[in-house]
Amino acid sequence: MTKKNAAFIFNQEQLAYKFSDTHPFNPTRLELTVDLLQTLGALPSEEMIAPRKAVDQEICLFHEKNYVEAVKKGGRGELPPGTADNYGLGTDDTPIFANMHEASSLLVGGTIQAVEEVMEGRYKHAANLGGGLHHGFRGKASGFCIYNDSAIAIQYLRKYYDARVLYIDTDAHHGDGVQWAFYDDPSVMTLSIHETGRYLFPGTGAITEKGTGAGYGYTLNIPLDAFTEDESFLECYKIAVEEACAFFQPDVIVTQNGADAHYLDPLTHLASTLHTFKMIPKLAHQMAHTYCEGRWVAVGGGGYDIWRVVPLAWSYVWLEMSGCSELAQGALPQEWRNHWMTKASDPLPEYWEERKDLVPCVPRRPEINEKNAQTLEKSLYYIQRELRYSHVRRS
């Protein structure tokens, strides 16, 4: 049997992961993405696979049982506020909503499904853009995330496939939940490139966080300065990913594709354009083929400019993965724009990349780029030294 190229995990029920109409984490962005891809003819039905619901046993590969019980109770309206607090539930960030356990389980199941499609050899790559909830902790919700689908799926990869997993997180917020989940594990390498935690949530993700015990060196953080633009972002990303692959020699790559590093994003202060989101999956794709016989699982993540940024950024991920990246150029389909125009609270974009004259120019660019280059160098110091020594030992 020849492997098919790529699987897109999605169904309408995934849109139920919704806190409220005013909450910034808005599932409409997933709907917009799917609709855009379908309008382009880039999402044939044989490539679309419905996610399954993760069972408790799978969720508990990472989460604590009593936390899962609390989420279930919360979704049924039976969780007292005092108890909810202990689990990070019922806050403004992660409010309680009806059937939250079922909705969250579907996002987790989607990422596990994506892992299975790839590891069972049915598809080379798979995407579950509803996943990527990287802030979730073992026993606590945090930063819009209830269950940490990526941490669960990576545990799943470890348990059932004994695979070496490289996790690459390009969300503007530090991927703390996934990082701490595998902080002492040398079989899982986490690489997070994000806005510095100086002011931004969650505040962690410093270069000094490198892993602990046997896992020392298997955690990489590249905290970028506020207002970092494409050139510096992509340079740091490219070098870090290439070095991490050479050092770690992964069996499978899991990428978290948060789309909030864009200059229009209301929650962060990075200043990249759509060009960055076009290039991120390209390199991941290439590395998956170089190191992992193509095995690549992509999930979504943050992204709070849901009209102008997220649908395009996520489409880039799928178009790259399915080998149709040539569809992402020039004007966006008018049919898609017409469909959403009246609902959109911001003017919908017309083209796949911003007009250059509309992109703001950041003062102090050379200083920011210089600072980032230094951060990158310090962050990679350890694995570069290890790589050099291992070459010396081999020769």
């Binding site: 910034p24 403004d92 960030d93 935690g197 002011y199 931004l200 949530f201 207002f227 120019c361 003062p363």
Partner: protein, 214 residues
């Protein structure tokens, strides 16, 4: 916070008759910079640092340490004038002592008996905890005038938005006579709180949007 709350009680120690070689091994294995020297009943009588050991061990011009040096007892190189602290001492006072005496750590004693060790690193770890950087949070710095009631006014904003504050520091603004209130708040979306603070006329430090040019 007092010393007792943060000192290490798992202490690596030697007796005066133990050899310098034992000290070398212990320092290397446990990555220590200081080893307290005690009598059999834990009475503290001295301390040796990695520098004392290095000075005794060999010359930089020689590749090999002299074997008879390594077999000498540590009492020959230990310092007997030791700056100690007490479990009930305030952490801030210990920090001042370490800084003033330019030392890196101090034994903690009760009745001259060794009960713990405290080092600069323990203090730094505590500082990280105090700044709240070990919990997922957003940092906001609010500039206020140096008069009473300001903290309460700002904190009310967080209360109104039902945001939990994980840590809070006050420090003087270098450029004016104002004070900076640095909060770590447990939310990923700080926009509503920032808007309320600005509405009340507060100035916020942070990555403000620079003057975009095109």
């Amino acid at each position: 916070m007092i010393v007792e709350d943060m000192m290490r009680t798992n202490i690596y120690k030697l007796t005066p008759a133990d050899t310098i070689e034992q000290a070398v091994h212990m320092m290397e294995k446990e990555r220590l910079r200081h080893i307290p020297i005690v009598e059999n009943d834990d009475t503290l009588i001295g301390i040796i640092s990695d520098r004392d050991v290095r000075d005794a061990r060999y010359s930089i011009f020689s590749d090999n340490p002299l074997p008879d040096v390594l077999q000498k007892p540590v009492k020959l190189i230990m310092k007997t004038e030791v700056f100690t602290t007490h479990p009930l001492e305030f952490v801030s006072d210990v920090a001042s002592m370490l800084s003033e005496k330019r030392i890196n750590g101090a034994p903690v004693t009760v009745d001259r008996k060794l009960v713990g060790m405290i080092t600069g690193r323990d203090l730094l770890d505590t500082l990280v905890q105090l700044t709240g950087a070990d919990q997922p949070s957003t940092q906001l710095e609010v500039k206020v005038s140096d008069v009473s009631g300001q903290l309460a006014d700002v904190a009310t904003v967080f209360k109104d938005h039902r945001i939990n504050v994980t840590s809070m520091l006050i420090y003087p603004d270098k450029k004016s006579s104002s004070k900076i209130l640095a909060f770590r708040i447990q939310t990923m979306d700080a926009r509503p709180a920032i808007a309320s603070l600005k509405e009340k006329g507060y100035e916020l430090a942070g990555p403000s949007i620079p003057e975009w040019g095109t």
